[in-house]
């Protein structure tokens, strides 16, 4: 059984009916529980729970500090390439978008690594578009071997791989993976991914499972908020995370709650997710998975990121550049999306200290 089968159990479930039927009493009961059922989690994602954000926040804050301390792991993404064969309607890397396509040489990877390492960060997330010819797993492995000299933790956010390919990258030095399912609703998924290998919903959905089987230490998943009803997407993301944690108890499982940002394609979000709704999602997830990680990107603006600090977030990106080779070469190619928090690593660290949090640059030692 995989997460695909698990999600099938909710086929035909009346989500709008359930969400509309949640009462204040149900929310209050869920808030008093130590271990939440999936239905409790869904209740906390309901419109009724939006009236209980403060008690949810109080509990989420306590749980987060108890389990993770007043510490925030910092990392930064490094875009290796923006070649892509997909036509995802919401993504700047869409193959039909007329943007300059680039792929870093190993020398350029090293130059980028030097620029990032100078900030003190030891955790890095490498990204590519989906193009098996331009950026095959062997290329990623070569890049990881270069980056290993500068970083103690290297995660990948690349197209879905086979278990053997994940094993190859782990052998090269990768210890974490991020895979955004983008949207869990299979019908909506098909609409938004008209062409390209990303059309294969199930191969993408089961990618973290294959990575877990290959021995990946960190599994990070997420839905792109704005593509579908955020409440059900948040529910399925949490369910997926919980399933992964049960299936791979020795892995660290985390979710990301990214909201859609402007990009080269100009696709408008189908649903605008408000700040309060984003907060509700993060709080509900924290109560559902007290030890689950929550990764917050620079898609969100500085003030909001600072205020979300104590509410469940455990990892943040900083010093972000979404352009291929944007740091060392100074090139200004089109990025995947526009960021909202342009703060440098130092500025982010100072903001954390000011709020009573410790920036953690290194939280893993490559073995």
């Amino acid at each position: 059984m995989t997460i695909f089968d698990e999600l099938r159990r909710y086929d035909g479930f009346d989500f709008p009916g359930f969400l509309a039927g949640v009462t204040d009493a149900h929310v209050a009961r869920a808030l008093q529980k130590e271990r939440l059922t999936p239905q409790d989690y869904l209740a906390l994602l309901s419109p009724a729970a939006a009236r209980h954000l403060e008690p949810m926040a109080q509990k989420a804050r306590d749980l987060t500090i108890r389990h993770f301390g007043r510490a925030m792991v910092l990392f930064t993404p490094l875009y290796l390439a923006n070649h892509c064969t997909n036509q995802c309607v919401y993504c700047g890397f869409n193959t039909k978008n007329r943007i300059e396509r680039r792929k870093l040489t190993l020398e350029e990877v090293e130059a980028e690594a030097l620029a990032i390492a100078a900030t003190g960060l030891k955790h890095i997330l490498i990204l590519t578009g989906e193009d098996r010819k331009q950026t095959p797993p062997a290329y990623m492995a070569d890049c990881i071997r270069v980056l290993k000299r500068y970083f103690t933790s290297i995660a990948i956010e690349v197209y879905p791989l086979t278990q053997e390919e994940y094993a190859l990258l782990i052998e090269a030095g990768a210890d974490g993976m991020t895979m955004f399912q983008e949207v869990y609703d299979e019908t909506v998924y098909a609409e938004l991914h008209p062409k390209g290998p990303k059309r294969d919903y199930r191969f993408r959905l089961e990618a973290p499972d294959r990575a877990g089987r290959a021995g990946m230490r960190q599994l990070n998943i997420g839905a792109l908020l704005g593509l579908n009803s955020w409440r059900t997407e948040a529910f399925f993301t949490g369910l997926h995370a919980d399933w992964l944690q049960r299936a791979y108890p020795d892995a660290e499982v985390a979710v990301s709650p990214p909201r859609m940002r402007p990009h080269a394609g100009g696709f408008p979000p189908r649903e605008i997710v408000s700040d309060a709704e984003l907060v509700q999602y993060i709080l509900a997830f924290r109560l559902f998975m007290p030890r689950g990680g929550v990764t917050l990107s620079t898609r969100e603006r500085p003030g909001l990121r600072d205020n979300l600090l104590g509410l469940g977030v455990t990892r943040m990106s900083a010093g972000v550049c979404t352009q291929v080779g944007g740091r060392a070469s100074g090139q200004h190619a089109t990025g995947q999306f526009e960021i909202s928090d342009p703060r440098s690593v130092d500025e982010m660290a100072q903001a954390l200290y000011q709020r009573g949090y410790q920036p953690v640059y290194k939280d893993w030692q490559y073995l």
Binding site: H67, R70, D250, V253, Y357, Q358, Y361, D363, Q365, L367
Partner: protein
């Protein structure tokens, strides 16, 4: 004669060990150490970065404190051994607290893998202190494998739920020849005191102090509680009776 705890040939006056993982800033650590009087502090090797300058946690550990690097993040014996060797190579000394956790939902230690890591590292000359689920037989095997002390959890790590494993730890204290140090889950000074009254050799606290509103004040309170509990243990607590014993017995007239 001073009441000392001897581990790996090192005599310690303080029986409160510190964790270092959850503070708002590493810069607070010296104040915590001073207030607690602790002489042993554990540091996750995964967070040690000798090249990080002022952000390097090791630069905040007072020289008076003995470093006990831990293998946090290890999922099996092999990874724990590699982390321990990295710690020694980085100049962190020979003490190592083994943490092998393959359950990220509850963070419960894997005793079997911990026994194996203890055997390998003790043979390499490390002073090994294994963090473990309280289990007498597993603890005996760790001691036989060369553990200098064993560190059973009082409650799941980070929960502040208190001394929930009291019955099992009490048996370990009675049966084992190596020191028993209660690690994890202790949330209040009174609970640390209870561990010491029971005969524990020491208590390790991290979350309880680091997440307190006043961590320095809480460190001081823990120091006092651990000292009081130890003093009570040394003084030999009176026997506990299930029934009240009136000073003027109701049946006394039968003996008149």
């Amino acid at each position: 004669m001073a009441d000392q705890l001897v581990i790996g040939g090192v005599a310690l006056e303080s029986r409160l060990f510190l964790g270092s993982g959850k503070y708002s800033s590493n810069a607070i650590i010296p104040a915590i150490v001073e207030a607690s009087g602790a002489q042993v502090i554990t540091v996750a090797v995964r967070r040690v970065d000798p090249g990080a300058g002022s952000e390097n946690i090791l630069s905040h550990i007072p020289r008076s404190c003995r470093l006990m690097p831990n293998t946090s993040g290890a999922r099996n014996a092999q990874e724990a051994v590699r982390i321990a060797r990295l710690a020694r190579a980085a100049g962190c000394g020979d003490w190592i607290k083994i943490e092998v956790i393959s359950d990220n939902r509850h963070l419960l230690p894997d005793n079997q893998e911990t026994i194996e890591a203890t055997r390998i590292l003790a043979a390499e000359g490390f002073i090994v202190l294994p963090y473990m689920s309280p289990d007498l037989m597993a603890a005996k095997r760790m001691a036989e494998a060369g553990a200098a002390a064993v560190m059973p959890l009082g409650a799941p790590i980070g929960t502040n739920r208190g001394f929930r494993t009291r019955e099992l730890v009490a048996i370990m204290i009675d049966e084992l020849d190596v020191p028993v140090i209660v690690d994890a889950g202790i949330g209040k000074p009174s609970e640390a005191c209870e561990c010491m009254e029971l005969g524990a050799a020491a208590v390790l606290a991290n979350t309880a102090i680091a997440t307190a509103a006043d961590p320095v004040g809480m460190a001081r309170a823990f120091a006092q509680a651990v000292a009081a509990g130890r003093a009570a243990w040394l003084a030999g607590p009176g026997a506990v009776s299930e029934q009240a014993r009136a000073s003027s017995p109701l049946t006394g007239f039968l003996h008149e």
